[in-house]
Symmetry: C2
Subunit: 388 residues, 2 copies
């Protein structure tokens, strides 16, 4: 059987997921053609990517960079910019699969645009599922679009559910590394520095998700993502701390059988699975040798120490516009922490105050979500201004 | 949808697997009807089982017990005896699924008889697959029969392969508890007693399989079973020692992703899965709580200490009549050990001598297998006679 070439667009091509996706495409030129790239501000890397993969269309964040870039790329590549540019990459007619790897709520609009055009989605942008899960799921179903998870935990669950009936699931068990502060005493939390928070023990990722891992907000967002992605009630989603990050997540079935997906921590595995699903393909990732690992250990998460995770569970149960508010408040707080404007422990404090001030309403449209998002951003920025 | 009742026959109903199978059937009277039971010598338990499950047909090992039993059971239950009796239970026309749980090579004939009659098989009798794997697989395919594994390792692999393409498998990883002698020094092996060997750290099983676990021959037989059951070359089957027996086995795929099946060690899970496949059903088994386990650890097996496992790997690669010879020699040696006729370390020694004396031929029929089996039994009995 001759295999048809899958045409791929990558939103966030110069980020960690984007780079790994291109690595996989580079390994399998007979299977994938990169037709679209959308990037932020890393022009040098984007230029290299254009030169290597010769995409049909490329989008860059700012108009200034667009002007700058235009003269440097071949005329066979169309160049666009801004939000509309990202959406143009996401909806390119010949594209089959869009890897959605822009960080934060900014990933929502282009991902939805791709879904409306019937493109399958490799979803690394968990925030879009967190804030607009119901709408994303509905529109994916309506347009017969597959949403293939591209983070290690949800890809693990997706693999564990292979060939199973979702009615037979007892619960989903998300594993969490616990991040760099798993064993930090609660009274030490106020002294946590940016440098400490940016050092993840197992995964090499972008700055925002690394901070989210340190605060365990990342796991909270993943609980919400799993809720929508697998249509699973929140009370059927558990978090277990597993510092070695070898078991990427698990599914417990009604018969007390647990199926887990394991591997060395390497994002190329979930990316490759989204690209090759339902089959698998080689990845050049080091195979797992469990005999080389001293031990695998598991703990209950400490919700008093990791207040972000506690807030996320609360928000997940409450529904309404709480999720976009939590997500936006977190994005602003993390950015402020990365700019040395606030301390680590102020991240959950700012989110908590924002959630308490919020007047929730039911989500009936993307506009409802975006206005809750926008309200929360302003609220937290003001709160930070009052602190300083 | 109204669920039809599945009709079950159990070969070996008074053994460990038989008892657990009846426990599952007892929990789901709306799903299963027990129509046939075949037992060995445990008349008291068989009488209780007849009284509770009211099977259509029952077989007992000896003619004497048959005479004895005939007067004690209701006339609605037909009673038969001996090998032909077991085959009558295995081939009862109304039966849908036969649980094959007789220990040793004796399980082969009735299991094949059931396959020829188109019954699906829940296979706990691994020896039949070890000695006649090729013939079993061929006849199952011809008769459109599903062979559903009923030991924890092969059920784990079977679950991990759910929804996957077997071409994407890199290797199968069978986990082994390592048994009671995992940490015993090699020079202590000559002093191992029957009482020590009968104490398995994690599983409560019959005597023969418990000794096989202590010698790791059980894992060797499982390697051979996996080879035929999943049509997997021997070089793609690995054994990893995992003393906690929480991960029951794993499959590594070409993308370096590993899928594993986990749970508290309880045979009711694989039994229930064979009964309910492809769906799952409740089992009353304690759900796994990984946070209650101190740690999961993994080691390479020591083939110099566990010579039975080494012999099994060698035999598996050689093919021909070596497998039935290894299996028969092991059965005789284990029985002699259980009767205090030989020491623990003499089990692999006797098997090794027997294998070296064997003149292998290609397997073209069940008769070839049975005569190799019979030759090996006589050879080992004579060897034991020479030792004493």
């Amino acid at each position: 059987m001759v295999q048809s070439i899958k045409k791929i667009s990558i939103l966030g091509s110069t980020g960690s997921i984007g780079i790994s996706t291109l690595d996989i495409c580079r390994q399998h030129p007979d299977r994938f053609e990169v037709v679209g790239l959308a990037a932020g501000r890393n022009i040098d890397l984007l230029l290299q990517q254009i030169s290597e993969f010769k995409p049909k269309i490329v989008s860059i964040h700012s108009e200034e960079d667009y002007q700058n870039l235009s003269s440097k790329i071949p005329t066979t590549t169309e160049i666009v910019f801004g939000s509309s540019g990202t959406c143009a990459v996401a909806t390119l007619s010949e594209c089959d699969l869009v890897i959605s790897a822009i960080v934060g709520a900014a990933g929502l609009a282009p991902t939805l645009a791709a879904i409306e055009e019937g493109k399958d989605i490799g979803l690394a942008n968990k925030e879009s599922m967190v804030i607009a899960g119901e709408i994303m799921s509905e529109r994916a179903a309506k347009n017969n679009v597959k949403i293939l998870p591209v983070d290690s935990e949800h890809s693990a669950i997706f693999q564990c559910l292979n060939g199973e009936n979702v009615k037979d699931v007892n619960k989903i068990i998300l594993t969490a590394s616990g991040g760099p502060f798993l064993h930090t005493a609660p009274n030490e939390f106020e002294h946590i520095t940016k440098e400490q928070a940016l050092k993840h023990p197992n995964w090499d990722m972008g700055a925002k998700i690394t901070i989210d891992s340190a605060s365990m907000m990342n796991k909270g967002l993943e609980v919400m993502e799993a809720h929508w992605l697998f249509n699973m009630p929140i009370e059927k989603i558990d978090v277990v701390v597993h510092p070695q990050s070898i078991i990427h997540s698990m599914v417990e079935f009604v018969d007390a059988s647990v199926v887990a997906q394991l591997g060395e921590p390497d994002m190329r595995v979930p990316i490759a699975y989204a690209l090759s699903y339902p089959r698998r393909m080689t990845t050049q990732v080091t195979p797992l040798d469990l005999t080389k690992h001293r031990e695998l250990t598991f703990y209950k998460p400490d919700l008093e120490k990791f207040k972000c995770l506690k807030l996320a569970f609360q928000v997940a149960s409450k529904g309404k516009t709480y999720a976009p508010v939590l997500n936006a408040a977190n994005e602003v707080a993390v950015a402020a922490f990365l700019q040395d404007q606030i301390r680590f422990i102020q991240i959950p404090e700012l989110i908590d105050v924002c959630l308490q001030a919020h007047m929730p309403i039911s989500i009936d449209s993307i506009d409802t979500i975006l206005s809750a998002d926008s309200w929360a951003r302003k609220f937290v920025i003001t709160s930070i201004g009052n602190i300083s």
